[in-house]
Amino acid sequence: MTASTTVQGLREHRPDVLADLLTRFGREIQTVAYLIVRDTGDADEVLADTLLTALERGHQLRDETALRAWLLRIATNRALGMRRRSVRLLQLGSLPETASPDAMDTESLDRAALKDALGSLPPRIRAAIALRYYADLNVDEVAAALGTSRNTVKTQLRIGLDRMRDQLRDGGSEAAALGAEVNHV
């Protein structure tokens, strides 16, 4: 199925395009959602909801070259909405599962530290970082996805990187990417 055929199928609300969307964009949408909600089950829910919403609103997509950015925007909004609903549940005491540090190698430790640093950021800043540095959207596209200005996105990215850098440095993970980078500049 070509990109053009997929978009046409979305506009006609044909459920057979779901498989194609899942194949082409599933991993990326799921990962962006996971980076925001920090839970694999919730990320799967966001993925399913994103694709179904896209099928439901396919007639709203005018520029077929914007399909990927449009899907990521839906996913980001869904993930942020899910974060808002789940905050109270998390505050009641359910802690995320973490592996034993003894069982992890250095690379895993660094990644775990990075995940912790990312997870400590406010959801919208985390979303900006996921869209910019994972999905490789440019600042304008991130701003469109988050419904805000490019100035705000740039500020969010800078604040996010600063905070992650501080946390990695404070956490003593010297090999962690950002912390090590800061120590050498």
């Binding site: 991993r27 179904l52 439901e56 994972y134």
Partner: protein
Amino acid sequence: MSDPILTREERRLRDALHAEEDVLPLGLVPEDLVRRWGKRRRTRMVRRVQLVVVLALVAVVASGAAWSIVALHGQPLAVSSASIAGGVSVTPSPVTGPGMSSGQATLSLTQPESATSSFGVGCSWSPTGHVVGLAIGKQVIGNDYPFIRWSLTPGPKYEIELVEPDQTSFIGAAGNYASQAAADGHTGSITFTNLVLNSGDPSTAPRRSGTFSWTCEQAASLGNPAPSLPSLGVDEEGVPALWIIENGVPVRAAFTSCPVELTTPAGSFAERCATSNWWEPLALLKSALAVPPGASLAFAIDGWTITSAQVVASLSTSTPGSVDNPLQDLHAVLGNGAVPFSTPATGSWYVHFTLEAATDAGSTLDAEYSDWITIA
């Protein structure tokens, strides 16, 4: 994918985030999606039938209540009428800003509990389109002070968000809404229903329905260009210089930081950053700008109108950039030529400017500047 714009630090972050993808199992299969699609369509049909019944009941109950609207100083402006449930009145305040249509609307809610909100609604300039709508509201409910922020989203439409006073975290849930952005000489509106204004008990939380609409007047010019400044108007790359103004007098051109994007009718110039640490180049400065406590500070770019700006300061003696003290918010400067910002407390500060500026001729500037200022 290799993005030359990213710094080495950013590329390492990107690689680490991409590694997350490898450990996530993709549990979803197409058959699940098709099954959910069928279920969703059936649910939607049932809800539509229910909605028709509810709307008919609401129309009967709310038919007597309405917004009241007052035109501002003859301006074709501000908040206009719609049906509303729960007794709401609107009192606009005077227009602010050259060529701007804007005002304050105060809403008083009498049911189900007393609460007051104030909203700034209006039109202002953007580098690309002259006029956008902007509204930031503050809701007072008991000891809670959540903000309601309406922002322009592509479409053009407005998006309603309920946020904490620090404007970073969400509370509550936006109700159903439809919107249309205001453009020069045209009317914009936000219609919302069932907007829950706090995160408390939904059965007692104030809910609001209604419509704001306002008209943006045609702006003759972008706003106020900067006052006359010293001859150093641009640097060697042609990037406009940002002058720091102390008590009305230009005293020093700030360090041109990065990134910079300058677009003029004659061409464009862009420069990316080698580092995201904005304070690093300031270490090369030989001296700080010494300012006495209580001095009035502002900044300006000769011939340009600042359309959006944020100014932050970090103590140069601490880890720079780790704590940013805001000296100027993003949204309060539209239409100004010289933009005031707060004087930091006594000490040695690295100050960072992130701004957008434009000219009536169609030039746009998106740039960052910084400087070292001591208050003593």
